[in-house]
Amino acid sequence: MPLDAQSSNAAGLNVAVLVSIGRHPLTARTRRADQDARAVEMALSLKGASVNLMHAGQHDSDHEEAIRGYLGMGIEEVRLLEQMPEADVVPVLTDALRASSPQLVLTGTRAETGEGSGILPYLLAEALGWPVINGLAAVEKVEKGVATVLQALPRGKRRRLRVRLPAIATVDTSAPSARQSAFGPARRGEFDVQPHASEADAALTQWQIQPARKRPKRLKVIKSSSARDRFKAAAAKSDGGGGQLLNDVTPEQGAEAIFKLLREEGVLR
């Protein structure tokens, strides 16, 4: 994407990326989370910015393997704020961000494990008093403490925003995809493990968590007084033949009809 691929000059910018443990959708193995990896990619594409990775969670071999996936993208060190399993990571992340005071915090939209509600960036922003934007597609420029960024909208559209730094931005799948993780740098990368007191997430214990059930398909309910109409609607094939057919027309007439439809739908710019 040429529009998003521009790397901007952001010399001296201090970027923190919050990374989490991902889960492969098919094999269910731990991995680097896709959206977080995109956030790391975006941070690395900012020229001259210093990138710091931060992860709050457990410190064991399985999780270390997943975190090394981010290190393999060309990052030397990750800060690991050690927490108990199922702890509330918002307080410890708030303290860590307040202490390190980065100008820009990048993270994925929602985690691939746990509750995955996507509310964490907003909670951090509220606690720190920083603005938060979602769906970051590109950082165009950073000057005088104001970042000009592109926000991804549905249907491939982009919106340009100006945000006062420090700010939190979330990255979703419309951002450029992450580079491969290389094995050597992943092995060489270091962990800065900092044990922190963890707060248990009280509400989580009251919830019932189970494997996802398939959602029931919505039935087409036909509300009609006559049995014949109900039968017709149930037995009907998918609605074909409702369209307009232009036969024996000159190319100009055909083009005019298509042009009219395109105008009505508002796709011509």
């Binding site: 691939e112 995955g116 559209k157 945000v163 307009q244 298509i258």
Partner: protein, 426 residues
Amino acid sequence: MSELVRRDPRKEWIARNRLHSQHLEVLAEIGGNAVATEWMGPNGLTRRNPHAVGFTGPNGIRRIDRSGASHAAHTNARSTQSQDSRRSVTIDTPSFMVAVVPDMAGGRLSGHDRDLLGLARQLADADPDNPGAVLAILYGEHKETTFDEAGIDRLLHLEGEQFDGYTPENRIAALQGVDREIAPRYWLLPDSTQGGGELGRRLSVRLGERAASQVWQVEADSDSDTGWRCTTRGAAGTTDIVRALPRVVIALAECADPITETRHAAEPIELSQDLPNVLGRIEDIGEVAVDPASVSLAEAEFILSAGNGVKDWDNYHHAADILGATKGASRVAVDDGHMPRDRQVGATGTWVSAKVYVAVGISGAIQHLQGIQTCEKVVAINLDEGCDMVKRADLAVIGDANAILAALVERVEQFRAEQEGSRDAA
């Protein structure tokens, strides 16, 4: 005109008595002055007029419906037209409020919004003795006219320049004001990328509630504190979390059925206090023109797709550039090497959801038609009138694809020139 249908027993008697001298006239009168289709001939034989029966179908062919349904519908046209079976419901003194903030994508209630309003009604109407009211909060201009049919009791329309464009901070401040003044029991927002999901998360944080996001089912549950429990998707859609329904609910599409049987007041209300003006730290500079070629096929809005019928490929690429459409292709075009593999539309390629899909010279293999299932408008340009794509299309033009594309390019260029001209004049 009076809605009452007055019966005339004498005319009915004449209509039953086919030997009556006025039988035919009365039959015609009762049948809405239609031509009589069947009568007794002078020799006692039943005579039929085949030209007077049936109706003209959508393709211009006369259809005869022998079940009698269409004839009945014809004679009852007056009564079916005037009847609207929706029950009208007015809630004057609601015991609580359920607030809904619909997306209003494109200025209209989307299907997702209607599902959410259905869920709101479910929460509001659970106790018939103490009914709640559904409050919808809208920002800025809209084109929707059927708020009453969607199940809205109260409508709060927030207008002002502080809500123009992307202004989440002002919107949240307004919702906070609503929360202080009206204190809804539940806040429902759509978990969509159109802005609802983001607004809901911001609101839940601001109100200090632990929202349930990606809710897809809400059921009554006497064990929970709120009387309701909800099922939400967690961990990237791989787990279900069952929990008590919180105050802020961010729900997925199809979380409940939309309202169809009742009509509600949709009474406009105002806030008594002025909304605070927040010093925004996010400034919206506006939408950016995006190169259509860079948009991924799956999320493109307007696709010009080429198939085996396209012979002049330069002409096709030129047309796509001029129209500003994203390029797609059928499997044949890709296999023949005319288009790259990542542009293939269909079951083996990309499933697209375009607003307008123009299929040039594509006959419509079933795999291809599967891939364009969710497209809103399909235009087919094809030489073969009987092909499946023409059956699927909302507009089909039969003719040489090359000539039609060239004519379309000319027409669009003429339109652009006119626009330029009017802009210069202004």
